[in-house]
Symmetry: C2
């Protein structure tokens, strides 16, 4: 994991569709060597997968909210319960007064309310505190 690897990852984050020749030229390597480096980055698990970034508003998920979930029990074994709610994009165990933080995307605030209802139905959940996003400044990839 040297400077060249970091440069490759950074450029792949911006555009994973470019050719290995172009990628290599940008960092001063041949296409073959570039291919080999990227293969190893995948093998080592640095690059998990190549995917497409989708505009949430274009696929009917214009409402974004973060929900603090309070509980009366240990939530560490409830991963599946949160995964089963399709509108939940992220779920984290957190330190602090609440015990779980989830990121929710829905088409309308009505559907958001329905997600909250389903959160209450999860075993051990004693309350929720939803924070609706009014405007997203930016969402970007990891710094290197």
């Amino acid at each position: 994991m040297d400077d060249i690897d970091r440069a490759l990852v950074r450029r792949l984050q911006e555009d994973a569709g470019q050719s290995y020749a172009a990628l290599g030229a940008a960092v001063g390597l041949s296409a073959g060597a570039t291919h080999e480096r990227v293969r190893k980055l995948r093998e080592r698990g640095v690059i998990l997968r190549t995917t497409v970034e989708v505009d949430p508003a274009a696929v009917g998920s214009g409402v974004l909210a973060y929900v603090m979930v309070d509980s009366r029990a240990w939530m560490g074994d409830s991963r599946e319960a949160f995964e089963a709610i399709a509108e939940i994009q992220e779920a984290h165990i957190i330190a602090g007064s609440a015990s779980v933080l989830v990121k929710v995307r829905t088409a309308t605030t009505g559907q958001l309310q329905d997600v909250l209802r389903r959160l209450y139905a999860i075993d051990g959940v004693s309350g929720t505190q939803a924070t609706v996003v009014l405007e997203t400044f930016f969402e970007r990839s990891l710094p290197l």
Copy 2:
């Protein structure tokens, strides 16, 4: 934006590296037609870009935290100030007691503290409330 388009986007989210032939076979289309549909999805802005997903821990960002930022002034014009802090991955204007919510990734809690210091330095910021993530259940792509 019909069922086929949604299926294409879903499969591209899982693996953007597969061939148009394989992609087309999965939805019952020829490679050429598949190529054309994906081209239009990009043109319409449904697909924003193709990128690689990187393991945060592998690139030295093992600590994740969400920070509620309180302010004594309107923060709607402060996008650049948040963008300038490289460790901030997301920044949103929110409804509620705080005014901005940011997602921060750092290598250590010490660096997290440094980010909080830099947040305080932003004009109008009157306080922060950081929530450290202990365990991430999952982070996944948008539902369709």
